[in-house]
Amino acid sequence: MADSAGRTGERGSAGRVRGALAPYLMVLPAGLWLLVFFVVPMVAMVSLSLQTGDLVDGFRQTFHWRNYTDGLHTYGDQFVRSLWYGLLATVACAVLSYPAAYWIAFRGGRGKTAYLMLLLLPYFVSFVLRTVSWKLVLTDDGPVLGPLRGHGILPPGFHVLDTGFAVVSGLTYNFLPFMALPIYVALERIDPRVVEAARDLYAGRAGAFARVVLPLSLPGVFAGVILTFVPASADYVNAEVLGGPGDTMIGNVIQSEYFDNGAYPVASALSFALMAILLLGVFAYARALGTRNVLEAAGR
């Protein structure tokens, strides 16, 4: 009797040891992955961003901070433009996806999954191919502008391709699901009875939306904004394919400095500057709107 009780006790404490280790063990694979593929390269990149030299003679650590100041000075326009385009695309995504997500969540009925699938269907096609196909659509004599020009609605020199408008449109299109899905998830979790209660308490349709549905869905919007804004600002494919000479974004500069010129230090410095700016932006945003909202949304 005593023997068996002892054994149970033993088993219990051993379980507790294992229980204490469990969080570490579970984090280990992801942690190692991040260490090897994120932390180590990042540290190497920080180091590289302060070096001088060239590909043939090699790069040496000289703590050359001018990589940062020169980079920001030369490509300041591209930084500002990237953030501006990112912002425009984010706003456009929010405006476009909120009604769609709302409709699917509340009016989708049994077809919800099918509608979501339809929303996501274009994203099964490769990113670059999607962007290039926009080029075909927006070309001067393409299916959109061709007929309009034919009817004399557009001035002769008018074009969409190779403009900032085309780049922002491409960004909006390509990052739409990153906005639509979190909003949908937030809306879908709202208990319809809460809305009914609001109506019972004499709130109008608009009032119930503004004071009940919208606040409850905001965490989704907040998460969507971050998920859209960060990659959209750093994107370079859209500006490359759809933009003109005045529409290059910082991603294009980093790409060409790194791959075309082999100017690793400058490219690294620009990458880090971009990362710092985006991180600061996200922190400021989380502060202003309350971390709880953002974390809660991210936690879903």
Binding site: A14, G19, V43, D57, R60, H159
Partner: protein, 414 residues
């Protein structure tokens, strides 16, 4: 486990449980510290420079013990092979070597970016033969020792049939690492449906009346050379002060909205459709790919003459087969069908007689095409024409940095 006092285990585990979040944070902090230490100790990236000349020993060392495998993987530019791959098929049939042909090179800069990392690590890039334009990136490949030194004894046809202008080029003395594939001219293409005057000069690319209808090339050597032609400077003899003056004009052209886009390869499509009306262009592209309304001119200020070269990456898996192809392409009869299609300047002048003979035998449209080709000054330029053409500026490593700093930001919008 049986020897352990339960209380002891509890003592070990309980407080740990309570502190576990803190401990996790400590672990993260530790990672950060390790990272910072690594950052400080990382003192540089090793230089990869090698001798850019291939000694006889180097050649022997590379080629000894290697033999053909019957396979060959070839990286080339778009528009550089017949659509039905006729030339490749003829080569396969004659030699029994299977060729995998990919049009993966769009621009020399990005191509170099793609192959640089594996070549630096001594790994295969998946290609045994690639076509690179003379210029900054080819120079880098030579200096970094990325190219196999060519065994000239296995290239008898090159020795016998290469044109005088293609032997011993300044960018690769003694053809130590490269043999020319095709040469071409960078000039201006314009669409006669929209442009109602004759285009003869680079200055017309800067004319405000073509606002938003001009295409320029994004490549800094092409762009810079045209800027220098405009201010009357020979790119080959240019100084950094000339670069600054040329860059200022190019920047002005961009900022006044005259340039619609800086192109890589896609200008052919844009000028054929009329998205741009006049654009910097490569001679052969216009003949083989553009629509009937598009005309090509060598501007009176001058044009750039460049050469695309066959070369073998040092890490190639089938270098002997690559060498076989190089040699095979220099047989005039093998080269003629290729030149008939690509419309660029062939390094094998004897090809011309074959094209003339083909034209005499052909009828109708084919005959007109071949005759036009064999008499085209852009495919078989006269000595006088060649004298008007200029080469890219050769750049030392230090000059290259300065040159790129001057011209690269223009196409990038700053």
């Amino acid at each position: 486990m049986s020897g352990v006092d339960p209380a002891f285990s509890r003592g070990l585990t309980r407080p740990r449980m309570a502190r576990s979040t803190l401990a996790r944070r400590d672990a993260l902090r530790l990672l950060g510290a390790a990272g910072a230490a690594a950052a400080l100790s990382a003192c540089g990236v090793k230089g990869q420079g090698r001798r850019a000349e291939a000694g006889r020993d180097d050649v022997r060392e590379f080629w000894s013990g290697r033999s053909g495998t019957g396979e060959l993987s070839w990286a080339n530019w778009p528009g550089y092979m017949q659509d039905d791959h006729r030339t490749i098929k003829a080569f396969e049939k004659e030699t029994g070597i299977t060729v995998s042909y990919k049009e993966v090179i769009q621009e020399t800069g990005p191509w170099f970016g793609k192959i640089q990392a594996p070549l630096a690590a001594g790994q295969s890039i998946g290609f045994d033969l690639m076509v690179m334009t003379n210029g900054i990136q080819l120079e880098k490949c030579r200096r970094l020792g990325y190219l196999a030194p060519l065994d000239r004894s296995r290239l008898p046809n090159v020795a016998a049939h290469a044109g005088a202008a293609f032997r011993n080029p300044s960018y690769d003395p003694g053809n130590a690492f490269t043999v020319p594939y095709e040469s071409g001219i960078t000039g201006i293409a314009y669409n006669t449906k929209y442009v109602k005057e004759e285009i003869t000069s680079i200055a017309q690319l800067f004319d405000p009346k073509y606002k938003g209808r001009v295409g320029m090339m994004g490549d800094s050597q092409e762009l810079g050379s045209f800027g220098m032609f405009l201010i009357g400077v020979d790119p080959e003899r240019s100084t950094p002060a000339d670069w600054d003056r040329a860059a200022a004009r190019l920047r002005e052209q961009r900022d006044r909205g005259i340039v619609r886009k800086y192109y890589t390869q896609d200008y052919v499509d844009a000028v054929s459709k009329g998205e741009v009306w006049l654009t910097m262009a490569w001679s052969g592209d216009v003949y083989s790919l553009a629509g009937p309304d598009v005309r090509f001119v060598v501007p009176r200020e001058g044009g750039t003459l460049w050469t695309d070269n066959l070369c073998i990456p040092r890490t190639a898996e089938n270098p002997v087969d690559a060498l076989t192809l190089m040699n095979w392409l220099y047989v005039p009869a093998n080269n003629a069908p290729l030149t008939e299609f690509v419309n660029y300047i062939t390094p094998v002048p004897a090809t011309r007689q074959i094209i003339v003979a083909d034209a005499a035998r052909a009828t109708g449209e084919a005959r007109a095409d071949l005759t036009r080709l064999s008499t085209s000054p852009l495919v078989f330029p006269s000595e006088g024409d060649l004298a008007r053409l200029r080469h890219y500026r050769r750049l030392t490593q230090a000059e290259e940095v300065r040159y790129q700093r001057t011209f690269e930001p223009i196409a990038k919008g700053s």
